[in-house]
Amino acid sequence: MSVLDQLNGGGIYLICGSIVAFIAAVCVIFMVRAWHAGKALGMDVTRMKRAVTASATFSVLPSVGILLGVIALSGSLGVPWPWLRLSVIGALHYETQVADAAAEQLGVSLGSGQMTAQAFPTIALLMSICIMWGMILSALFNKKYLHRLQQGGKTETRKGGGFGDKAMTAMFIGMVSAYIGSYVGGWISGSGRLFSFSGSWTPLAVVFASALVMAVFTYFSEKKGMAWLDNFSIAGSMLIGMLAAALIGQ
């Protein structure tokens, strides 16, 4: 039995499925409570229904985009774990990058057939730990933070302007640069021989293909008023980039 078969085993489906079911139950509880609270406050039921309907329709397309992310990760991590991660707490760009960093640390690759049963639990743990801080902060400080904002009369958050947003963008630019730099360096000085150009150029070709598709998505989204395409931009670009790798590999 291959590692991937093990990762797609019934036991792992059961573990991941139970957690997803728990989160679904939490959502239902919050929804029912909010509905009753709204009615007690005298809110118009039609408006609440409208909010629910609009949110449901709004979420269908992004959810399909997230499903494409599950497909993208399923070749290396199996289906149940990406299903859990992307149903709960995660986001595609985060999951892929953290899984890859953890795999690198363990000396394995996310590539198909390269995962080991020893490496997977460590990769899965790191994926859980790295992104749990928002939930921890929320559990510890949500009440205090909201109370402080209300006392200060602040009802809306800052949008842009501060250095925080710029620092976040810069941080992601740095992260992307490190990875792309490694693909270029790996090609130019492949197998540890400086300027031998003997490394694989496939990752670079995938980067270009994926970036190009992202540019096309952005063009149609921004210039042609097709904003709904944003829901598929990352997952769609990734899938076409991966398709390029499959074509090069033939």
Binding site: A24, V28, V52, I71, L84, A117, S210
Partner: protein, 231 residues
């Protein structure tokens, strides 16, 4: 119900929302951290805590900073119930935040009001349930496709998930500041070309690359601020 009764009912709702929110966040945390151990038992291998700690130091810090910023920025937008749920269910920027904002605008709920609290919670809960449903249906459909997904033809595709992600992200982030992007990119290309052994520690290189980009962004921000003050 008069206004005072409404107010006290809303305060009781908020109080219990915080209590339930904290409890379910704690349970989710235990489940998510516990799952790799449970899966490890099935696979016959426990997570390596030392490697996890080392990998966290390289890649986790970036996401920790990101989590703090997300908490500070999004909590006021979503209110109590909405933010507990959003931080549990994830996919904030690409779905939950725009979804809640859309619902809020649609019913014209004002930020910081009881109405906004209710609408944001309804919106995030609905959105999360839709995602859970779509993904569950998708996963059921994926099971018969397993042999195809594991075929050797598709092996190079799955071996290049990460370059595919960074290609898309590169376009998304580089276009925000192309000049600033050029410096860390060139620096990393030179470094990885001259020291090829670094390719096995790419995730560690995020730290100097990110620091360089943030430093440049800070210098640019300070210059712009000074320029604006001088006008």
């Amino acid at each position: 119900m008069n206004d005072m009764q409404k107010q006290s009912s809303y305060e009781a709702y908020l109080k219990s929302t915080h209590r339930i929110g904290r409890i379910v966040s704690a349970i989710t945390l235990v489940l998510l951290v516990g799952a790799p151990f449970a899966i490890g038992t099935l696979l016959g291998a426990a997570p390596d805590l030392g490697e996890t700690a080392r990998a966290f130091l390289s890649v986790g810090l970036v996401w920790t900073v990101s989590s703090v910023v997300e908490f500070l920025v999004y909590t006021p937008m979503l209110g109590a119930g909405g933010s507990y749920l959003a931080f549990i269910t994830g996919n904030l920027i690409n779905m939950k935040i725009p979804c809640a904002m859309n619902a809020k605008e649609l019913v014209d709920a004002k930020s910081g009001t009881a109405e906004n609290e209710v609408i944001a919670t309804l919106s995030i809960a609905t959105s999360s349930l839709v995602t859970i449903l779509v993904l569950a249906l998708g996963v059921v459909l994926l099971i018969p496709l397993q042999p195809v997904l594991q075929s050797p033809v598709l092996a190079p595709a799955f071996a290049n998930v990460v370059p595919a992600l960074f290609g898309a992200m590169a376009y998304k982030y580089y276009r925000k500041d192309p000049l600033l992007s050029l410096v860390p990119l060139c620096a990393m290309i030179v470094l990885f070309t001259l020291v090829p052994s670094l390719t096995s520690s790419t995730s560690f290189m995020i730290i100097p690359s990110g620091a360089l980009a943030i430093l440049l962004a800070w210098l640019k921000y300070r210059k712009e601020k000074k320029g604006a003050a001088a006008e």
